[in-house]
Amino acid sequence: MRVPLPWLREYCDPDLDVRAIEERLTMTGTKVEAIHHHGVTSTDSFVVGRVLSAEQHPDADRLKVCAVAVGSDDGQPATIVCGAPNVAAGQTVAVARPGAVMPDGTKLKQAKLRGVTSEGMILSESELEISSGAEGILVLDELMLDAASSPEGELAPGTPLADVLAIAIDVLELEITPNRPDCLSVYGVARELHAATGAALSDAPWNDDPGSAGALSSAEVTVQCPDLCPRFTARVFENVTIAPSPLWLKARLTAAGQRTINNVVDITNYAMLLSGQPLHAFDLDRVAGAQLTVRRAHDGEQVQTLDGQTRTLDSEMVVIEDDQGPTSIAGLMGGSRSEVQPHTTRVLLEVATWSGPNIHRSSWALGLRSEASGRFEKGLQPEQCMHAQAIATRLMIELCGASVAPGTIDIGADGHASWTEAPPQTITLREARVQAILGVPVALARQQQILSALDFAVQPREHGLDVSVPALRRADVTREIDLIEEVARIDGLERLPATLPARRGAAGKLSHAQRVRRAAEDAMVGRGLHEIVGWSFANPELLDQLLLPSDHEMRRVIAVENPLSESQSIMRPTLLGSLLDAAQHNAARNGPDVAIFESGTVYRALGAPSPAGAPSAPSATGAPGATTGAGAELPADEHHGLGVLLSGALAPRSWRGEHREADFFAAKALLTGILDHFHLQWSVEPSTWPFLHPGRSAAVLAVATGQSEEQAVRLGFVGELHPLVAGAWDLGRTAAFAIDVGKLAALAAPVRAFQAFGAFPPLRQDLAVTLPESVSAAEALHSVRSAAGEMLDEVSVFDVYTGEQVGNERRSLALALSFRALERTLTDEDVAPVRERIVAALEAVGGELRG
């Protein structure tokens, strides 16, 4: 909302400069977003001039050479070349002398125009930013009339232009919060300024109403949907003369950001800006049947609005129609058929209250926003109708020569005349409560002063005040706390001390799950991966690109009903999409080597089995704080996943030649870095997913320490992406894993118990064995461990060999064995029987000892 400062000062004029006013308004809740300077920056060299003669330019058809009295010291008129067709001798005009700085920043100089030196410029309204439309130069006849009635009697050439015309105006651009539609008005802001500064507030501009109440004979109005139209008022004006508005009105409206049209339309806009209440002027002679009916539109009904567009309505929208059908969409825009014309002589002025939510809905549904709809949708009070009627009536009489017909149509919430005001609400404000909420006392007298300044009626009572709410605030102020806010904001939040809560036994902490998540993320960062943050939204095409069959559980996604675009219309069921998108982006811009991870939420419709095979009832995994409503049902299956994607080289090329490419084992190594961090017993087993390489993919299984393998939980997958999937994102060999961090946290022990270890060194031995390829490394190690018993501390595979030496469909595994006892140093003799059992166990699964 743009408020020209001189207009504001007309109602409240504190002895403060514009910066101080900005500060007071901002700090009391009416934020000044910007201070605009409207018009010229310096009024120097702008003067009143009188055209003494205007002769045709010898060398230019469209230019005139004028002698203009400008009150110069030597008494000589200035020669000014002017291109306006309406310039003529005898006119009093606005002149910019050389040295003047125009609103657009250009500095005027003496200049030759087709051989004639021009000492300045005769100005138009638009050059002074008084209006945008008027053609030709600005002729100050109207100011002459004003001057004729003043003591000086004359507007002398050379008079500073700024003395007679507002050519330099500070304009406040205000942010009005949605609860304060009463402040979408100059007088509303003036009241705020009054409360914020203590400067006097002038009487409301609607107090003096030249019109009258009672029946109105020359027009009729019917309201068929009073639920959507709590009040409808109308007045009729006769003998209206349509003309341009006076300069002061044009200057104000233009500074406030309104276009100027003609006196009647400008008056409706002026009354709206002053009172906050929109108005609409009809040419009564073009209202068919001189009657208006307010009704819901029919579904599919079409109306042509003022902007020339045809709009299709529905039955939740309201139209105003005459005998020939709809003339406007209520609260949004008038129709062209009955708008005011240059020859209009009878005007019906409509001022109505509409249902805010209904206007909001209609406005969005039609994509039609106007100054009026923006006000109505915030919910105006019915009292404002007559405020606007009173202001407009006075100006119609003063500026259009109109006479107001007796009476006012005034239809209230029951659909019948006439509207009646609801009694004000009275609220008790306890003095102690003010301090309890704010943390600082405010004297009762100060509270009373603040509320009175804001138009509340205040009566002292024991330990507090009884406060009646003014009509314009009834929607916003309904409770004691609302009054406390009024006191707080005007008394000044700057006065509040900065204190800390007096704590009662609350200690801040992260939950176990949150700590597990951080540790898992840190493990990936520590291994050189970069975290990405992807979109929760996904394209439904993702499901096809991941080769998911039509009945796949991951297709049970949550769809957004009103997405911004089809490509953001589902909630991602996996982190793979955003990881692949980020990998593709970086491969294209920064080269093929990508090592990234994402830690974020994935979403499934309730009841969909999770891909890891665990039951997918709403669980605490979406809420690792584990402090969401105990047992409160969550609306969807959300769980926190951690996904890793590797493509290309794992590290920059080294001068030493070490070079590792992303593959299954690279991904598994990173997964190991996370799972071993939490000391889980875990394993992988071959398993297939549609989007993974069928020979290089596995399920990740884990159990908590001390639990049996039957209790293993599937945490997620690890594998190389199917080449068709990687190819769809323009990637080569790509490996990935994704795990459910909520399940991981549930398995990870919050506290580790100490494990005793002895002082004696281990005995290490190696063992090479050939095995059928069908025996997995895990099976071989399992055989070794089962056979060895407690003396075997560790066993691992340190070499794998296939080739002719070990025969077809066989391979050689080299195992590193480490034996240890708590109480002594072991010897080869000690472990010999164990080793024999190990060899026997390996032979039992087809193994042969090598060498």
Partner: protein, 355 residues
């Protein structure tokens, strides 16, 4: 004879001193002290001397031999040390070559890093970190936060819907009532999380991140809010920062405020040392960072008294504050990130900057 011994002694002494390698030294040892060398032979021949000479010659020869042995020993150690030094020098590497194998440096995304930083600040102030669902009911997202049934924010132009009564939460505030349902007062929580609104332009992305704060106890005042956020502002933006509260409006807080932090780029002056206007705060001296207020009493009324939160939330007995801050905004201010879209593009040249 004794002269000869002395001659040999001094001759050997200078030769040992000049020996340049342990091999040369070994040759000298053989030459002067070996089986066939003159000095040992003299010693062996002492018995054949006249008794009067035996003592003096034997003693002189013996002393010379011992002295030379000691000299050779010392010189051997000296040369060995030098030769090791020489070998090590010859074994030098180009220390300016990169370390191997390369250890790539990873990074948290700046939004994660910022979120953690903020979480840690509030942990230090005694707040527990809670999280909640992103797919949320209309009840928690709007109704229980005192939004009127016709509030514009409920419109499908302002909120993503996944069903008639389910939305993608538009803020982290729905967790206020969820948290109070689960816990009795006193309650001090922060709730980080992802939120959604259907806006997409240079200053809006349809998903973004907030951190909600909620403190409810018997006597939590607006001044306590100011103090808590002052601590936060100083922890994030520096010890010299100040905060100011400006009155504002939110449906679920009353009084409501917007919170500004004094600009850390121009020290709150609005202008830089060279007199130019501060680009960061645009000359205002203040940066708007979040919205907050005292929890509206109507919100407490949405918390049913249950076994979990007994004795419930009676607005005459408890009061508190809440805030909602934008993680993207804090990170933008702190790191000078010019465009929201950089966060979600995930370009490695962006990600690497915040390791």
């Amino acid at each position: 004879m004794i002269d000869r011994i002395q001659q040999l002694h001094s001759e050997a002494e200078s030769a040992i001193a000049l020996a340049a390698s342990s091999a040369e030294l070994e040759q000298l040892r053989v030459h002067y002290l070996g089986r066939k060398a003159e000095l040992p032979q003299m010693l062996r021949g002492v018995a054949a001397l006249e008794p009067a000479q035996r003592g003096a010659v034997g003693k002189a020869a013996n002393q010379a031999r011992q002295a030379l042995e000691a000299l050779i020993g010392a010189r051997t150690d000296e040369l060995a040390g030098g030769e090791l030094e020489q070998r090590l020098r010859a074994d030098s590497v180009d220390v300016t070559l990169p370390g191997a194998p390369p250890q790539p440096v990873g990074s948290l995304h700046v939004l994660s890093a910022t979120r953690r930083e903020l979480e840690d600040i509030f942990l230090g102030l005694g707040f527990t970190v809670m999280e909640g669902p992103e797919i949320e009911t209309v009840h928690y997202n709007f109704d229980a936060l005192n939004h009127s049934p016709t509030h514009p924010a409920r419109a499908r132009t302002d909120t993503f819907y996944v069903a008639d009564d389910l939305v993608l939460r538009t803020h982290t505030s729905p967790m206020q009532v969820r948290a109070m349902e689960a816990h009795p007062p006193p309650l001090y929580v922060v709730i980080p999380g992802r939120v959604y609104r259907p806006d997409s332009d240079a200053t809006h992305t349809p998903q973004f991140h907030q951190i909600e704060g909620l403190a409810v106890d018997e006597d939590i005042t607006l001044a306590d809010l100011k103090g808590t956020l002052l601590e936060f502002a100083r922890a994030v933006f520096g010890d010299a920062r100040n905060v100011r509260l400006r009155p504002h409006f939110f449906p679920f807080t009353e009084p409501s405020v917007e919170v500004d932090v004094s600009c850390f780029h121009c020290d709150g002056n609005g202008f830089l040392k060279d007199g130019s206007r501060c680009y960061l705060c645009k000359g205002e001296g203040w940066l708007e960072v979040l919205g907050a207020g005292e929890v509206d009493p109507n919100v407490y009324a949405y918390v049913p008294t249950t076994a979990e939160n007994a004795p419930g939330y009676d607005p005459e007995k408890v009061q508190g504050f809440a805030w909602g801050l934008g993680v993207e905004r804090i990170a933008m201010l702190k790191h000078g990130i010019p465009d929201l879209r950089l966060y979600y593009e995930n370009d490695l040249r962006f990600l690497e900057q915040f390791s």
